[in-house]
């Protein structure tokens, strides 16, 4: 198993820190290329006039998901060593709702905000300030929120476990659903044009 390189020893901890901004450059580049550094374009997603948020996000998700599955299957990448984000079911659902509301109002998310600010968009700076304020507000109220914040943990809970299918079948299902979504998105955009 050669990957993750940090696990097989090919990349040290320092190497990982060097890789971070390089990976980031790729991240920011493609976000901007896709038009996600522009708030009105992002918000158009929710008025069904420009569905690029969905297209970019799910194309990226499919690419990484299918790529990761096959690299693991071929023994090149040990997926069990790739960090899975934390899972806390209810806080994530509630956080998702708040985040979605903020996303609609701001027209930018944390990643795209940095891209927007870096490309001269002043509204991006506003969102940046708000993000810091939101984090600080959370930290100041942590005591009150802690119990809720730590509720319903489910470490390592993945879709295959939930639906009782293999990883491969899950990947296939998501692929089909996403592709159907793309077809639908094209139809919606065309009808709105």
């Amino acid at each position: 198993m050669i990957a993750p390189f940090t696990s097989s020893g090919s990349i040290s901890e320092t190497g990982a820190l060097i890789a971070a901004p390089l990976i980031g450059v790729g991240f920011g580049w493609f976000l901007e290329r896709g038009g996600l550094g522009n708030a009105p374009k992002l918000a158009a997603q929710f008025y069904l006039t420009d569905l690029r948020v969905f297209k970019v996000m799910f194309s990226a998700l499919l690419t990484a998901m299918i790529g990761a599955f096959w690299l693991d299957r071929l023994g090149l990448l040990d997926l069990s060593l790739v960090s899975l984000p934390d899972t806390f079911l209810v806080p994530q659902a509630v956080g998702g709702v708040l985040f979605g509301a903020g996303f609609l109002i701001a027209g930018l998310c944390p990643g795209t905000t940095c891209v927007a600010a870096a490309t001269g968009r002043v509204d991006g700076l506003g969102v940046l300030g708000g993000l810091f304020a939101g984090v600080i507000f959370f930290d100041l109220n942590y005591g009150r929120l802690e119990h809720f914040y730590l509720s319903t943990p489910r470490e390592g809970f993945t879709l295959p476990h939930l639906i009782g299918a293999s990883e491969g079948v899950t990947v296939a299902i998501i692929t089909v659903v996403a592709l159907a979504g793309f077809v639908l998105a094209e139809r919606i955009e065309r009808s709105r044009a």
Partner: protein, 206 residues
């Protein structure tokens, strides 16, 4: 839908859907592991381990699978405390030399299987855990009626015992010599009294 989109869609559909019939990544064949277990190549002796530690082998990853209290009271130098669960998830270089030990050896043996299944090639464990370390490295004893083999092993252990701050003793009555599989004792350690074993460990005080 233009040509580019069609190409991307076909690629995604093909790769994504064949995933459904791709099965799982092949893990180490159980019969390979079974052979190693029968041949006892899954063990490492306390003396060999001591050598690795003294050599300051950079690839060595020594894991203690006992409780936090036991670890605090005494652990083999360079050992990190961990659990079987953490070992199945821990990030390690593929060429790591992993050595495990627990109290009796059960958890170490189980963790051995799981780590080998994960694909690590160089995994072994101390058959009689921390006790074996104490009895063979820290407090080696030479019986009055020692055989040549026992004498040779004692000579090998003496500098190690010194290095790790233990004491080697000669002229010990046969009945008092700490038993283990290396003295031909029964596999289940039934000839070792628990009190005797723990009192040896406690005397270390580190």
């Amino acid at each position: 839908m233009n040509r580019l989109h069609r190409t991307l869609a076909i690629a995604a559909a093909t790769l994504g859907c064949t995933a459904a019939v791709a099965g799982r990544r092949p893990t180490t064949d159980p019969s390979v592991l079974a052979t190693e277990i029968d041949r006892e190549t899954d063990h490492v002796s306390a003396l060999d381990l001591a050598e690795q530690i003294m050599r300051n082998d950079a690839d060595l990853r020594l894991y203690d699978l006992r409780s936090a209290a036991e670890y605090e009271e005494f652990h083999i130098p360079r050992a990190q405390r961990t659990t079987v669960t953490d070992l199945t998830r821990t990030t390690l270089p593929a060429n790591a030399k992993i050595v495990l030990y627990s109290t009796g050896g059960a958890h170490a043996a189980q963790a051995w299987v799981l780590l080998r299944m994960r694909g690590f090639r160089n995994v072994s464990f101390l058959r009689e855990g921390a006790y074996e370390w104490t009895a063979r490295v820290l407090q080696p004893q030479l019986a009055v009626d020692a055989t040549a083999a026992e004498r040779a092993e004692f000579e090998r252990a003496k500098p190690m015992s010194r290095f790790f701050g233990g004491t080697a003793r000669t002229g010990v009555a046969r009945a008092e010599v700490l038993q283990g599989y290396w003295t031909g004792a029964a596999n289940d350690g039934s000839s070792v009294t628990t009190a005797g074993a723990t009192s040896v460990v406690r005397r270390q005080g580190c």
